[in-house]
């Protein structure tokens, strides 16, 4: 049952066709980089979506930050703790934490997996290369301070910096391939063909960047198309409002969500604006791009389905609270998170809500694949899977009542005799009832004894 009374109005968000899987995908069902592919489309047409019986696999205290998702590869989720500067690997099936590496003092975000490597970037600047099996840092790149990392595959990466540059490199080479001079602080680039596209916020100092309330910044926005081979600026667009989320590019069209409530599409070749869609609030979540639609969450409490060609809205999901858990799409299932502490799964075939999952705080990060969804709220990271899997116990609307957190902040399901939910005496799985029973017996016993002494 919908906690928020969310409704889908207008036409369904029906999709068709396929998208190209990224070359760096390490498995049939992986989410190998932020926003899934170099173009930041967040659309995996072949992924296996969790369509029902959403159940908590694990939940750990690992707050998520703005504008970053998680990664999936080979049955492992790579998540981050925005407060601790740590990166954590979680087994999707068991929910067990495989390793944790507290890399830096500031937020470190897993940006991509490539073969047996996990590449992460710190807000503080450095890019770290980790061994995916052990979590050990095997290399550190001296990228300047900045947000996010763009990736084109083939070990070719692009790092925006807070001092108005984009630096490009390959693998762990110490020398940058090129440096592009742009204006403003850039966010995760999108790559398509021989160009990269990056949005910036100009006119604001790095320490004044406000990702929570971008409109409070006295700044303007820029969108750049940069030649991938030499870093030269091909075209540039200026906008009075700012956008602090990554742009997306697909099939010759660049999509720029902005905090002033506009979502604009540009010709990737020329930079000409093709259409602008205006929501009632700011677009402060990255968009997902399918073959025929741009799916964009808005602060007005709606998830808009916008026709890619015309820019017209053809559907919307009304939630009522800000949609800042950027949408991701697997096949014909869309997932997104909201500030009403919930994640929703929508069928793009008929617009029905397949399930919703209640978190403990506003949702900021989402990744899906292998019939699992990894959700990051401002408090915790959840791995959600089908109830038929191992070590389950959660419910569709709020996680497992018999889930218990360990001292490491990891939450797993516990049984009475064993942790198997089907074990004997599973009806005794509630620690509250057991504790009440013990305390009640003790108090009654003491009182009875005292009365016995009295008589």
């Amino acid at each position: 049952m919908l906690r928020s009374g969310a409704v889908l109005t207008g036409g369904s968000l029906a999709l068709g066709g396929t998208a190209v899987r990224p070359a760096s995908a390490v498995g049939e069902d992986s989410w190998p980089m932020q926003r899934f592919d170099p173009g930041n489309t967040a659309y995996d047409p072949d992924g296996t979506a969790l369509k029902s019986d959403a159940t908590v696999r694990t939940a750990m205290t690992a707050p998520a930050g703005f504008g970053n998702d998680y990664l999936l590869a080979d049955g492992t989720a790579y998540v981050y703790d925005a407060d601790e500067g740590s990166v954590i690997a979680i087994d999707l099936v068991t929910g067990d934490s495989l390793w944790t590496n507290e890399i830096a003092d500031q937020q470190v975000v897993p940006e991509l997996v490539e073969t047996d490597l996990l590449v992460c970037r710190s807000v503080d600047g450095p890019t770290y290369v980790l061994n995916r099996d052990t979590g050990e840092v095997t290399a550190e790149l001296a990228t300047p301070r900045g947000f996010h990392l763009g990736y084109a595959g083939g070990a070719e990466w692009f790092a925006p910096t807070v001092d108005g540059r984009v630096v490009a490199g390959r693998a762990t080479a110490e020398e940058f391939r090129w440096t592009a001079d742009i204006e403003g602080i850039g966010f995760r680039p999108a790559v398509d063909g021989d160009r990269i596209y990056v949005a910036t916020v100009a006119g604001v100092a790095p320490e004044d960047v406000n990702l929570e309330s971008p409109n409070e910044m006295d700044a303007s926005g820029r969108l750049y198309a940069i030649d991938r081979s030499d870093g030269s600026v091909v075209w540039e667009v200026t906008h009075d409002g700012v956008g602090v989320r990554p742009v997306a590019v697909a099939d010759g069209q660049v999509y720029w969500p902005r905090a002033d409530g506009t979502l604009a599409a540009y010709d990737a070749e020329t930079g000409d604006e093709q259409w602008t869609f205006t929501g009632k609030g700011g677009f402060n979540a990255a968009v997902a791009v399918t073959d025929n639609a741009v799916l964009a969450g808005n602060d007005d409490g709606r998830l808009y389905g916008i026709d890619r060609e015309s820019g017209d809205q053809f559907a919307q999901a009304g939630i009522g609270e800000r949609v800042r858990g950027a949408p991701v799409v697997l096949g014909r299932t869309m997932f997104f998170g909201t500030d009403d502490d919930a994640v929703y799964a929508y069928s793009l075939d008929d617009g029905e809500v397949l399930w919703e999952f209640e978190t403990d705080a506003p949702v900021r990060s989402l990744t899906a694949g292998d019939e699992h969804v990894v959700v990051g709220s401002t408090e915790r990271c959840y791995v959600i899977g089908p109830s038929s899997g191992v070590s389950t116990g959660g419910t569709e609307d709020g996680g497992g009542s018999d889930a218990t957190e360990t001292g490491d902040g990891e939450e797993t399901n516990r049984g009475f005799l064993t942790n198997d939910p089907d074990s004997e005496l599973s009806f005794l799985d509630d620690p509250v009832t057991l504790t009440w029973a013990g305390i009640a017996v003790s108090i009654v016993g003491i009182v009875m004894q005292l009365i016995g002494e009295q008589t």
Binding site: T404, G415, F416, P431, T435, W436, I439, S442, L450
Partner: protein
């Protein structure tokens, strides 16, 4: 007022329960909030009962008959209850550790919790009853005075005493205290158990000596 400071010590004993219960119930912890409620209730119960025991009047001295004299007055020692409370702590700490810092099945933390809670509860109970109990040996009677809600006084006349038996539980042996059962031979109603006294053997011998001199 009862002997010792049962209110104070009960409050001290309740602090871990009240603190952990408050943290779980009111704080932002991963444990279910309601898990803090029974801990708070138990802590509050211990505090309330402790202060009731503390403030309730201790049993008054018995009124003596003509030519009757008090030979000895004993209070139960608190060694045994303290030993039980001490023994309970490792179990309770183990229960907390297993509950909150591991994902072991509930049977393990709950098993430790039940054992720890049993030892703690019996320890506290004994502590309170000992605080409210006084034994008298007079030239004519053995008297057990207890007062919780109202005064309860049991006595066995010296001339009716048929047996004086000593007993010690393992914990009592460990801490050097014992119990003395004074039986009249007139049924259970005419029997006094002097519990948790130091030098139980000496006290029993003193009692037997009184009987011989009477005889």
């Amino acid at each position: 007022m009862a002997r010792g400071l049962p209110g104070v010590w009960s409050t001290v004993l309740s602090i871990p329960f009240l603190a952990s219960g408050a943290i779980i119930y009111f704080g932002d912890t991963p444990s279910p909030e309601l898990l803090g409620a029974p801990l708070l209730v138990f802590g509050a119960f211990v505090v309330a009962m402790g202060w009731y025991v503390h403030l309730v009047a201790a049993p008054p001295e018995p009124r003596l008959r003509d030519e009757e004299e008090i030979i000895d007055t004993r209070h139960p020692t608190q060694k045994a209850p303290l030993a039980k409370v001490g023994l309970s702590l490792p179990f309770l700490f183990a229960a907390g550790f297993l509950m909150f810092f591991t994902t072991q099945p509930y049977v393990y933390p709950m098993g430790a919790f039940v054992v720890g809670l049993y030892l703690l509860s019996t320890g506290i109970l004994t502590y309170w009853t000992n605080s409210l109990t006084t034994y008298y040996i007079t030239t004519e009677r053995v008297i057990n005075s207890f007062r919780l809600l109202s005064l309860v006084r049991k006595e066995v006349p010296m001339e009716k005493i048929r047996a004086v038996r000593e007993s010690k539980s393992p914990i009592e042996s460990l801490v050097g205290v014992g119990n003395i059962r004074v039986a009249s031979g007139g049924g259970a109603g005419l029997e006094i158990v002097i519990r948790n006294v130091n030098d139980a053997t000496a006290f029993a011998d003193e009692l037997r000596g009184t009987l011989k001199s009477d005889g």
